[in-house]
């Protein structure tokens, strides 16, 4: 009886200890996580982020990603009026023409900003802006006397920013900026401007139906040409860039697999009898994997210059290491019976590998290769941004200008669609090839 009691005591002590340990982990682990995140909070100066956060940049980015503005500008020295989308040369209306909401006259130009907001460019640089519910603002900019603005009220409302040489009026309908040398009106529109045709194309501004009927009327080649060579959105270059990125991923992944397969045999215990060879090959794999794709990219771009080939080779070299390791592990798990069976029919070594080993490892290899193909599409975008090639480069270029955010948005959407398409494609191929092998089709 005493022995039994002792045993239960022991059990109880053990159970208590077990529970104590469980308690420690279930409270200790979250505590460690919180402590680490607190450390990160201070190490990364997240509190100081609010000061560094540039609200204007964020606002410009978001607004620009779904809307665009048309500039109507008058040079106050020559009196010349130009209309341009986003103020870019590529989006400038031909001389003497303007959007339909602008009425060009000999002495007076009327700009209708909708909702009753009307800006008028009069003779001798005179400008008036009729703001509904507020009144008529006039200005007579001149080089000698500044803007000379006249407001209907004594007090300046907060949406008008006026000084001697500069006045900015920001309303919901648009924006008017007057300086001594230049008077400029912005009107905002939703959408991506000139996505299909630029202004110099005869098809710009036509409705979808009209373009279609013209295409059926035999102009499809010209229409396609104008769309494809659109200077603003550069559809042709974008298509090339995306195919370059996919090409980098494809060449890199497949090249790595081709290089890694024979090397994996040298690194697998059951195929490579010499310890030295095995160890050397494995260290090679570790080296290729350990030197990051970033460093390979730098080294390669010094030799081959920027471009898709450099990106493909960087992926190829890094992944040779990864594939070599994985393939040799797969080879070590191969079932020996099948090889013996083939050997018993008098097969030579090459035939033993071809019919005894390869069929066993093909499904594993294929699924790994296809998984890497998808993940390398993303890597190719990143490598392209560093070394110059593909859609990654176009993205960084568009970002550097800091104003083409609609293009940045367009590229981001395309990149996500591209990666998702590759994900879907590799999954589809994997299912098709691997399940196909199993059921014998």
């Amino acid at each position: 009886m005493t022995i039994l009691a002792n045993e239960t005591d022991l059990l109880k002590v053990e159970a208590d200890r077990l529970f104590g340990r469980k308690k420690l982990t279930s409270f200790g682990l979250p505590a460690i996580v919180i402590a680490y995140l607190t450390y990160i909070f201070f190490a990364f100066d997240i509190a100081g982020l609010t000061q560094r956060f540039e609200v204007d940049n964020a606002r410009a980015l978001v607004a620009d990603s779904y809307s665009y503005k048309t500039h109507i500008a008058r040079d106050n020295r020559t009196g010349e009026i130009r209309a341009a989308i986003e103020g870019e040369r590529k989006g400038t209306y031909p001389n003497g023409t303007a959007p339909e909401w602008v009425t060009l006259g000999d002495t007076e130009t009327v700009i209708d900003l909708d909702d009753g907001h009307v800006v008028t460019f009069g003779a001798d640089n005179f400008v008036s802006y009729d703001v509904p519910g507020y009144g008529l603002i006039t200005a007579q900019p001149s080089r000698a006397k500044g803007v000379q603005a006249v407001l209907p009220t004594d007090e300046t409302p907060e949406w008008i920013n006026a000084s001697k040489n500069r006045m900015t009026i920001t309303t919901d309908a648009g924006r008017l900026t007057i300086t001594r040398n230049r008077t400029e009106v912005f009107r905002y529109f939703t959408g991506w401007e000139l996505f299909f045709f630029t202004l110099d194309s005869p098809y710009s501004g036509l409705s979808v139906g009209e373009v279609f009927s013209r295409a059926l009327g035999g102009e499809h080649a010209a229409i396609w040409q104008d769309f494809w060579t659109n200077k603003m959105w550069r559809h042709q270059d974008v298509a090339w860039a995306i195919s370059e990125t996919i090409l980098m991923a494809f060449l890199g992944t497949m090249g790595a697999a081709i290089v890694a397969l024979p090397l994996a045999f040298l690194a697998a215990k059951n195929f490579s009898p010499f310890m030295v060879v095995r160890q050397v090959t494995r260290r090679f794999f570790d080296f290729f994997r350990g030197v990051d794709a970033l460093i390979w990219t730098i080294v390669l771009s010094r030799a081959f210059g920027p471009g898709p080939l450099t990106g493909a080779l960087a992926i190829l070299i890094t992944d040779t290491g990864s594939f070599g390791k994985m393939f040799s592990e797969a080879l070590e798990n191969v079932d020996g019976k099948q090889i013996e069976g083939i050997q018993s029919t008098g097969a030579k070594p090459i035939q033993r590998y071809r019919f005894g080993v390869i069929p066993q490892i093909t499904p594993i290899l294929l699924s790994q290769i296809l998984y890497y193909l998808e993940s390398n599409t993303r890597s190719a975008t990143i490598i392209g941004a560093i070394t110059g090639g593909g859609i990654g480069l176009m993205l960084t270029q568009a970002m550097i200008t800091q104003k083409d955010w609609e293009e940045v948005t367009y590229y981001i959407v395309l990149i996500i669609l591209m990666v998702m398409a590759m994900d879907w494609f590799s999954g589809w191929l994997r299912r098709k090839l691997i399940s196909g092998n199993e059921s014998g089709h």
Binding site: I46, L247, D292, G305, R378, A385, Q402, V408, I415, D423
Partner: protein
Amino acid sequence: MYEQAPPFRGACFLNERVVMTDQVSSVGDIRADYMAQVRRKRMMDGIILVVFIALMVTGFVIADDRNAGGFWDGLHRFFDFPKEVLSEAIEKIGELPANLLKFLPSLMETINIAAASTLIGAMLGMMFSLLSTRGMAKWPRLIPLFRRVMDIMRAMPEIVIALVLIFIMGGGPVPAMIAIAFHTAGALGKLFSEVNENASLKPVEGLQSVGASWSQRMWLGVIPQVAPNYFSYALLRFEINIRASAILGFVGAGGIGYELRNAMSWGKGQYDDAMAIFLLLFLTIVAVDQLSSVVRERLTDGKTQKVPS
């Protein structure tokens, strides 16, 4: 030496043979049919191989064409740059320890970015995975929505988010951390939900019967079952994220990548710095790689671990 007969068709032949035992010609028919099949399969394999080789060759030619420098011109220059760096580093070998020490803080920053983003990404991924697994989801109707969200997060390359965030909040580790955490949440969410699918629902039902809330059911019923697998995947991700955070540093997000870009842009004369950074990065990646494979093996000892796919 014939290719294995496809098992399914083979089974059909067996049946046929049973039916046609008394027909003398049947064996010859089967043999001819089998040979035809093998030929067909070989031809298909051959066609696929030819198409594949053609794709590889044309792809290589196109890539070579669109590259700034050609492959064959550059090949002999491949070792020029490593040689330059190495020779300068060997010249100043005495400064190497000091240089290694100099870049240790920025290496720490890179590792911190990776660790913090893995941690945050794993927590988000855990939430997403629980919300998108059948039988565990809080709102079963929203499962497809959460899955699509994870797909999009996974498809987003880190550099895209990092560049946008650098524009908004300036350079530094935070944009990189957010960018990597975002992608990690999607990637781990998918792997975690695969783990969840293999978890037993009985503890969840038990907890539900005593009136536990959703978060209690998940925290006490599911997490203890899946924690080792979660941890192993998160470690694998940590390894990947160290590489990613080094790359993001190169485009301006702080850490060792930033130092590397500075050292590279100085060019000759600073290659000893570049060498020290190369070394640090290499050693870190190899160390984390080895450590994580040891820990993962111990975590899943006995259990066979699935390759992340």
